[in-house]
């Protein structure tokens, strides 16, 4: 964490929710250190053949825009109005009732009025009115219109990269106006001018080339998992044998690469490996990993619809090449929004796959019969319901768990009770955060949609404040010391958030908790959990 970061109390003290005296159209933007991410590396932009790759710096005056940039934006808006009814309607019907205003974690955490979802949308809407509506053309500023300028473009860039596309605002809007959708379109427009952030552009380029955001090459990917094989052997006395790119396997497993790479996601990854070993030993379960489709996440989604499709295509392509029956997906937030709401439409139909059936319980996963991809929480809940896992929840007795609903599975899918069911079966101490902060009302981690860089830490900590505050409540009330989640970005970003606002709370994936409780056939007496920490009763 950067040294010049404010202390938590200082950060809270500077947060003022009273709007400034000058109207937002007349208040200049100040692109402030700690609140923005670095500009995209031109090499990454180029690798994807996206336009206007160049070196530029957000805090410099000259963004080296192409000569005709206004024309490009204008045409870009027009094209998208014709392609997306959502965009057109959301531009037209907002009544500025303000119901969404205090729903955004970035507004709550920063107090910056442009972080009210309605104002974020107005940044773009004002230009839309000016260029595309009769009222805007005639009445100008009175009708809320303003002409496009470089100032406006910079404002867009700054604030559309201060929205995590979490959709909390859309739950409360009486018309369902989804500012995330507006942000998605706005980022597409910015990308037409090469104005991406590097934390998105480079992972996307990596993913295109190597199959995963981190740029892990196939041999290294295998190495990394084999490293976990050794760790697991030490902990359980059992040698698991993951298989890779194996043709003819029943099922293909795809999960975010973040879990292969960094703690505490790695423990979730080890959890998957133990689970699959257990299922193979007991029930002959047959699953393979892929190095080509080695990324569940999709930072293309944060670039443009087209880039999302380009990256997502690997899932079905690989499933087809390997000849599996269906796909099992790991724990990740935006990955599941893409799979659930976009994948079949973009890259389907997956008619070369079979309707998913659990080979262990015989359950037909009706709800994924079209896409042919099942969420690991659904898969696990079904296994537990049928009593197919030998579990010792006592091994998780040293954790008091609460569950963070990731935005995308919550508001873009509705995966709420499956993970809770699983947790309650593998942990004895589970406490919910206050109802207005979970399920469809859940608060974002503050770092989603590609904003989980290091340089924007102040933004992330401000945006994560409402989530942290709710964790703090159960931490103080029930002694909760573990925040469970089903998202790889959460696992990467919640630990620093907790350290900052609620020290003493760790972060875990769902499958890590399961694997800790799972009794493997022939395992040695386990003394530690997957993290190498002593199990309850095993402390010296």
């Amino acid at each position: 964490m950067a040294d010049d970061l404010l202390k938590p109390d200082e950060l809270l003290a500077r947060t003022d929710h009273r709007p400034p005296a000058t109207g937002w159209m007349d208040t200049p933007v100040n692109i402030r250190k700690g609140m923005y991410c670095y500009a995209a590396n031109p090499k990454s932009v180029e690798y994807l053949s996206l336009p206007y790759a160049r070196q530029w710096n957000p805090v410099e005056d000259d963004w080296k825009l192409p000569e005709n940039w206004k024309q490009i934006i204008f045409e870009g808006i027009r094209e998208r109005l014709d392609k997306f009814r959502s965009f057109k309607i959301f531009m037209d019907i907002c009544v500025r009732c303000g119901a969404c205003a205090d729903k955004c974690h970035f507004f709550i955490g920063t107090g910056d009025p442009r972080n009210m979802p309605v104002l974020r949308a107005e940044l773009l809407r004002s230009i839309y009115r000016n260029d595309f509506t009769t009222a805007g053309k005639i009445f100008g500023k009175v009708a809320g219109a303003r002409p496009m300028t470089t100032e406006v473009l910079k404002e867009w860039w700054y604030y559309f990269f201060q929205c995590t596309e979490c959709r909390r605002c859309s739950v409360f809007c009486p018309y369902g106006i989804d500012t995330a959708e507006i942000t998605i379109i706005a980022r597409e427009l910015l990308n037409l001018l090469g104005l991406n952030i590097d934390w998105i552009a480079t992972p996307v380029a990596n993913c295109f080339r190597t199959g995963n955001h981190l740029g892990i090459q196939p041999h290294a990917f295998k190495d990394m998992l084999e490293f976990f094989v050794d760790d697991l052997e030490e902990i359980t006395g059992i040698k698991v044998e993951p298989s890779f790119n194996r043709k003819g396997a029943d099922i293909l497993f795809i999960t975010p690469s973040g879990d292969v790479f960094a703690d505490p996601g790695t423990y979730t990854c080890m959890g998957y490996m133990l689970l699959f070993h257990y299922l193979r030993e007991k029930y002959g379960f047959d699953i393979t990993w892929s190095t080509y489709a080695s990324e569940g996440g999709n930072f293309g989604f944060f670039t443009s619809h087209e880039t999302m499709k380009r990256l997502n295509s690997k899932m079905y392509a690989e499933a087809k090449r390997l000849g599996v029956k269906w796909i099992l997906g790991g724990e990740c937030g935006h990955m599941w929004r893409v799979i659930h709401q976009y994948m079949d439409t973009m890259n389907g139909p997956a008619d070369f796959l079979e309707e998913p059936v659990s080979p262990i319980t015989g359950t037909k996963f009706e709800s994924s019969r079209g896409t042919k991809m099942v969420h690991i929480a659904e898969f696990l809940a079904d296994l537990i319901k049928h009593g197919k896992l030998d579990l010792d929840p006592g091994r998780n007795d040293n954790v008091k768990v609460t569950f963070h609903d990731s935005c995308n599975p919550a508001r873009g899918m509705g995966l709420l009770d499956e993970p809770r069911y699983v947790i309650k079966n593998v942990c004895k101490h589970f406490y919910e955060m206050p109802p207005n902060t979970i399920r469809e009302n859940t608060f974002c981690c503050g770092s989603g949609s590609g904003l989980n860089a290091g340089e924007d830490m102040e933004l992330r900590l401000s945006g994560g404040l409402p989530r942290a505050n709710a964790v703090k409540y159960v931490h103080q009330k029930h002694g909760v010391n573990m925040l469970a989640c089903v998202c790889a970005i959460d696992r990467a970003v919640l630990p620093p958030l907790m350290d900052y606002w609620v020290p003493g709370v760790g972060v875990t994936g769902l499958t890590e908790l399961v694997a800790n409780a799972l009794i493997l056939p022939g395992e040695k007496e386990r003394e530690t959990n997957l993290r190498g920490e002593p199990l309850p009763g095993m402390e010296e």
């Binding site: 009273r18 959502s86 500025r96 009769t134 295998k222 709800s367 896409t371």
Partner: protein, 342 residues
């Protein structure tokens, strides 16, 4: 003083003067009584249809409902049937709840930043109540007005009237006699709710900050409509029979100018005309938009049913072959299976 609402207030006052002076001083009865109302209806109808058609021309490429509850997944997990609809039937119920009862607004949680850095999110129902009162009262008023445009008066209009004047208020003193000809609740509720919505915009700092002149204008206009209507009904006691002859003339395309009708009637009519003509070009189009909002009117079934994007096009992908081509040597060395040996 705030320029945004002053602008809208002044605009509505100017409209008032235009109509009042236009009729009382300049005698433009035909312009304000016949020409402008017809023009307004025409603009409204054409404009409204054009907007809806224009929206409909843009496709819905992806299913993006906002899911506000448990999905339908495993048979033993209870789904939120309405807030996360899996079928068209459930979507219809969701939409009915949104349109008739403002379901989403009902969820409103107000954020408070309390002492000791404690946050709270409290259920806030005033906006919902105010909005509901405003819209239902508006609807009741509109339905009641149909009595002026149909002969005989349809039975359901009479029902609404009866329901509306059910709470009959009688207030008779030596100076002031209201209560006859019966008070309609809707007019008063409409006025009160509109004033509430207006005050909200002026008083709540955040709402004030996001408001545009275009947000104040319809509120002032509707207050103007309600006030002029109330004035005519309870105080000026306009010649109802004459007005009905006039309005029936309008609908049967035999317009004739009534006698004994005051300038306030023309103001009322002009305000309504302005509202109608303004409607298609403004946020008031939320009336149509709410039906077509893709985050609300789609079923959350994209993993079971195929949904086709009409403009889906092939994109440049990085195929497995290209991938293996680049890494083949390393893959073989690591013992990973390959399609093509070296």
């Amino acid at each position: 003083m705030n320029a945004k609402y002053m602008f809208s207030l002044v605009a509505v006052i100017v409209l008032f003067l235009l109509a009042y002076a236009g009729v009382e001083a300049a005698g433009l009865h035909v312009l304000f009584g016949v020409v402008i109302p017809y023009a307004a209806i025409a603009v409204f109808t054409v404009g409204f249809v054009w907007r809806i058609v224009n929206w409909a021309q843009s496709p819905v490429p992806f299913r993006i409902p906002s899911t506000c509850g448990q999905q339908k997944s495993l048979p033993w997990i209870k789904p939120a049937v309405i807030d996360n609809p899996a079928t068209t039937g459930a979507v219809v119920i969701r939409m009915i709840l949104e349109i008739l009862f403002f379901r989403s607004l009902f969820r409103n949680l107000k954020f408070h930043f309390n002492e000791g850095n404690r946050f709270s999110y409290i259920w806030e129902k005033w906006l919902w109540l105010g909005a509901l009162a405003f819209h239902w009262a508006f609807l009741a008023v509109v339905v009641r007005h149909l009595r002026f445009f149909a002969e005989p008066v349809p039975f359901w209009v009479q029902w609404v009237e009866q329901l509306d004047s059910f709470f009959r208020v009688e207030f008779i003193t030596d100076f002031l006699q209201i209560g006859l000809p019966g008070i309609f609740l809707s007019g008063l509720v409409l006025l009160a709710a509109t004033i509430y919505l207006l005050l909200r915009r002026i008083v709540i700092p955040q709402v004030k900050y996001i408001s545009l002149a275009a947000d104040f204008f319809p509120l002032f206009l509707i207050i103007g409509i309600a006030l002029s209507g109330i004035l005519m009904r309870y105080f000026l006691k306009e010649d109802i029979v004459g007005i009905k002859e006039f309005t029936m003339g309008l609908v049967t395309f035999h317009p004739s100018i009534p006698k004994n009708v005051s300038g306030i009637f023309y103001v009322h009519l002009f305000f309504v005309s302005v509202l109608l003509a303004y409607f298609p070009f403004s946020k008031l189009m939320h009336l149509g938009g709410i039906f077509m909002s893709p985050t609300r009117n789609l079923a959350n079934n994209s993993r079971t049913q195929r949904h086709v994007n009409p403009w889906n096009y092939p994109v440049k992908v990085h195929s497995y072959e290209e991938y293996e081509e680049e890494f083949r040597e390393k893959m073989i060395e690591a013992g990973l299976p390959v399609e093509k040996e070296l």
